[in-house]
Amino acid sequence: MADPQSVDFYRFSRNLSDEERSVRDTVRRFVEQSFMLDIRRHFADGTFPVEIIPELGAMGLLGPSIHGPGCAGLSATIYGLICQELEWGDSGLRSFASVQGSLVMWPIATYGSDEQKNTWLPELAAGRKIGCFGLTEADHGSDPGGMETRAVRDGDGWVLNGSKLWITNANMSDVAVVWARCDEGVVGFLVERGVDGFSTNTIHGKYSLRASDTGELVFDEVRLPESSRLPDARGLKAPLACLNQARYGIAWGVVGAAIDCYETALRYAQERKQFDKPIAGFQLVQQKLVTMLTEIVKAQGLCQQLGRLKDDGINEVPMVSLAKRNNVAMALDCARTARDILGAAGITDEFSPGRHMANLESVKTYEGTHDIHTLIVGAEITGLPAYR
């Protein structure tokens, strides 16, 4: 029953309240007790441990910073710490929570009608219902503005046609937040499982994020009442604002994965002997460990400041982009370095860095690729958008 202490070389914990530290430590213990024992099997089988979902809900880990019925309305810093500890376990677990909280509950809380909020938020927060978020399409990833999914007015309601690809939680979800183009621009809908013409498919053969459900949403003449539209979501900026929430959590989350890689590599290097001494005693290995630690410390500083700013109402897209871009690349580098330090042992699932390394390739791509975030920050500082 060790008290979980994350790598904290610069004593960032001192800046946290008792409650924030308690949340961090409790989530770490929860992940150790309820998730880690089975992660290797789920990663090998390509499955998500669905039985953990109600537990996540009971603990209050789904949409913890959302304000709305059944939601806790806690701080952005607490949400960040939760993401960090979940992703210390696996990016698939954090992805589940990110989608449910930032990409499903947040748009319902922000753009939904009272009826939508009352119907869905308590159920989603408790983990009794599962949501997914459909923006990306097969031919429109980095440029979602080109989406081809169409919503056409039909009497009092709408008809939806098209499909969405690479959708996290697609096959497990009870409700999908779906973005489509209509004559007036981009609109959002809540599409429930079971509606005529709506189906989902699984994407097989993933190398990455294997302990996560990734799939396709297909809409074939799906008739939806006006009450299923998110009334306050207007234009492409509505789904992009959801992504800004989720990216914030990713910036924190990947630090957890990096910490696990660093700690695993450090422990291994201290025990593994070659040339009659622990490999941690060689200068080259120390340089790798020190570089990992330095990058983790810098990313922790970014997260903490980003969290405090968000709690003060400052949540600018380029700032979140910079943190997502830096921290994911940092975590991926840590995973690769840790894998290297572990030698051959690093290529098996007995150790976590290989799994984190594979996962983080997805994290680098989704929610805006590394390069797209370069362009967002680039446009901000030069005033010259370079997307097209």
């Binding site: 308690s22 007790q33 009971a58």
Partner: protein, 260 residues
Amino acid sequence: MKIAVCVTQVPDSETRINLAAPASELDQSGFTRVLNPYDAFAVEEAVQIKERLGADCEITAITIGGDKVLETIKKDCLAVGCDKAIRVNDDAMIGADSMQVAKVLAAIIKRDGYDLVLAGKQTIDGDSGQVGPMLAEYLDCGHASVVTKLELADGTFTATREIEGGAEIVTGTLPAVITCQKGLNEPRLPSLPNIMKAGMKPQETVTCADLGIDVPPAHTTITTYTPPAPRAACRIVENEDPAAAAKELARLLRDEAKVI
């Protein structure tokens, strides 16, 4: 029903103790302190009893310690379901022995009156296992230690105790002191909303003087901590024939190690 849960903080079991040579004190500066693991069973049991009885039940966590204990009280007691906490903060109690601890806990329990007192079966640092039974003596009530199952009915308790090679079932009347063993229950983790609310629950801090007692005198003093003797090199029984090797091993275990 009023339940008191006596809890304390101990060094995390993964703490590395730096002790090169015998010393009268341990360097505790690098210690991470956590709730004594057996106390977690006591807290959980109290919360489960409250869940069965409903609102007509109040749980008070009682501890002795400096400010560092507060985070544990909030996180592992109040956030998990205790209703309030009382802490004795008295410099004279730093490093107190079992009897001093039991006397001070007894003073609080007598002052407030409780129907049931729960505690861990022992701490994982001092390892004496004496505080619970001593407390029962000072309170002049019954007790059951090392309990793995507890049932309450009409002012009585039935406790299953773990004993060498079996179980013993003890009944008695309340109030009573019960010390808790692994297996009694599965301690829960606190939910986020409960962690956030824990700080708002009532917490009282008192000194021995506030309780109207003198600081009890120590009966034992720790004089020396010594590091464990370095382990002797292991011996490998070398024999090509497995049957002969097994025979030789059995002989060594019986005649030299004297363990079988």
